[in-house]
């Protein structure tokens, strides 16, 4: 399959501008996201991962530079057009409601349905395909609050899949999950990226798993933001700079972060 560039960031500076001046969080960020790739975004807490994700998904305007989605500036999309290019899985809890998993996934078809939101038979077959791809078909009639955290996360990914966009962005999808579910979730994302030729971008704190499963990794530290293949990042020592603390270092042989014993 051909891997074309879906999203790119050129000379991007992220941050917040207010009347008092600009608060720049990340600068000189250059990124390229290709279809069929699973990309992880890693960095310490408070380094600006969320701000970068918000800027890359068009929620927040960049301080300078631009984000290009499918040859068009992301800030020039209408909400409905953007929803057909980019789907999201967020960290926030869903408000309490009686939605079933099927209804939850079906909401992913909203950018394509008519004014009242009627599902066509095509929409329903896309929803069912998405459910079987994530092996969630048996959950379809369950209410969304009756299923486990891992199943809910999978249902939310299924919803993004039903939205049928070339790019899926997930904000820390592995938090609250145990190791087994983390692994199966990331494997699912990898499978989705390669089988559907979508680009899947996720932020995470599970560094070891991200290194093993991602096609590319974005490393954010206080000086710079680098995007490369995991093996290059391991070799050239970029990962050492991730934490500014003597107590943790990156072991190149084991490809793991190790706690230093005094």
């Amino acid at each position: 399959m051909e891997n074309k560039i879906i999203l790119s960031a050129k000379n991007l500076s992220t941050g917040y501008s207010s009347k008092r001046g600009k608060n720049i969080i990340g600068s000189e960020i250059n990124l390229e996201f290709k279809s069929g790739n699973l990309v992880a975004l890693i960095g310490a807490n408070g380094i600006g991962k969320s701000t970068l994700l918000r800027t890359l998904t068009g929620i927040q305007k960049p301080i300078s530079g631009e984000v290009i989605l499918n040859q068009k500036n992301i800030n020039s999309y209408s909400p409905k057009e953007l929803a057909q290019e980019l789907s999201m899985v967020l960290t926030e809890n869903l408000p309490p409601s009686n939605l079933t998993v099927f209804e939850l996934v079906a909401l992913g078809r909203q950018p394509y349905t008519n004014w009242i939101g009627k599902l066509t038979s095509e929409d329903i077959s896309i929803i069912n395909d998405a459910l079987s791809m994530t092996q969630s078909s048996d959950l379809a009639t369950k209410k969304h609050f009756e299923i486990s955290d891992g199943q809910l996360q999978k249902a939310l990914i299924t919803r993004a899949l039903a939205q049928d966009t070339p790019l899926i962005v997930l904000d820390e999808p592995t938090t609250h999950l145990d190791l087994l579910h983390k692994v199966s979730l990331l494997k699912l994302l990898k499978k989705l990226a390669s089988e559907t030729n979508k680009c899947v971008l996720f932020s995470t704190h599970d560094l070891d798993l991200a290194l093993q499963l991602s096609d590319q990794i974005i490393v954010m530290n206080s000086e710079k933001t680098v995007m490369d293949f995991p093996e290059n990042l391991i070799k050239n020592g970029t990962l050492d700079s991730l934490f500014k603390d003597e107590a943790i270092y990156f072991d190149k042989e084991k490809a793991k972060f190790i706690l230093k014993n005094d």
């Binding site: 998904t57 929620i59 909400p79 409905k80 057009e81 953007l82 929803a83 057909q84 980019l86 789907s87 999201m88 967020l90 926030e92 869903l94 408000p95 309490p96 409601s97 009686n98 939605l99 209804e103 939850l104 909401l107 992913g108 909203q110 950018p111 349905t113 004014w115 009242i116 939101g117 939205q163």
Partner: protein, 342 residues
Amino acid sequence: MNTKKNNIIFIGLLVLLAVCFVLNISLGSVKVPLEDIFNSLSGGQASKNSWQVIIWNYRLPKAITAILVGMGLSISGLLMQTLFRNPLAGPDVLGLSSGASLGVAFVILGSAFMPSFLSQFFLSSYGMVLSSIIGSSLVLLAVLVVSQKLRDTMAILIVGLMFGSFASAIIGVLSYFSSAEELQKFTFWALGSLGNQSWTNIFILATTTFIGLVLSAICIKPLNALLLGERYATSLGINYRKTRLLLIIATSILAGSITAFAGPIAFIGLAVPHIAKMIFQTSSHYILFWGTLLLGAITLLISDTVSQMPGSDFTLPINAITSIIGAPIVVYLLVRKRKFMI
């Protein structure tokens, strides 16, 4: 599977609505036989002329008002609960009714200070509706401006309650300076009443309710997206600002015009959407919209029938009945489900 069950419930509710409608018209201080009611409603004559007058000039307008008020208040409660992601939201809790009361209070109690051509306009039914809608929109806008600063939905409710108390306080000050006659007029309005509406008033109310309901129906799709929260809804292509504005306008028109004619009626907007959610066990607004509409009309017809105290000469204020019926339902729901759904 579920659609079949829902269809049966809908048919059941339609039948119940028809029964409540006829019951509401036939019961009251004067007993009119069912046969005469059917005769009269289908274009014929009741066997007594006085019955014909009672049915056409008193009971039918009241029943229609009850249906319009019930539908409008319940739907505005449903919209508020989803918009604020808070199951306790409703036109009265968020201070909308107080805002509408304030608008009406300014008109009734302040009419003495206005030039006569202005006070004549404002004391007409059009003027009352207009000032009531303006009052409720102002409160809702203020709640929204504050809610932009506060992300916490509980805080938004507290702000709504504060605006409510503020409006009540202003009404208190206004009533202190008004004449006994004006005060009496306002007090009667504030007790809430579905009766004594002219056909012109009913026509105005039907028009505003219709506009409000159409605006709400347009929002059914974005309302479903809002079940996932504001950020997900935006990522699904919903224009959140536009949707919110539409919902505010719809709610203000509904709650404002209804409060202008029938007075501030409590609990319907809060309780009826929850009854619909309990019966249909869903959050989908395609179903909840119609369910809430029917249940709202039914609940208010029943409340009105009870408030007439059939067979006696008394009439209780409608506001008391809706609270007596509404409050236990809300408590029951809370205890039974332990968790409120939006």
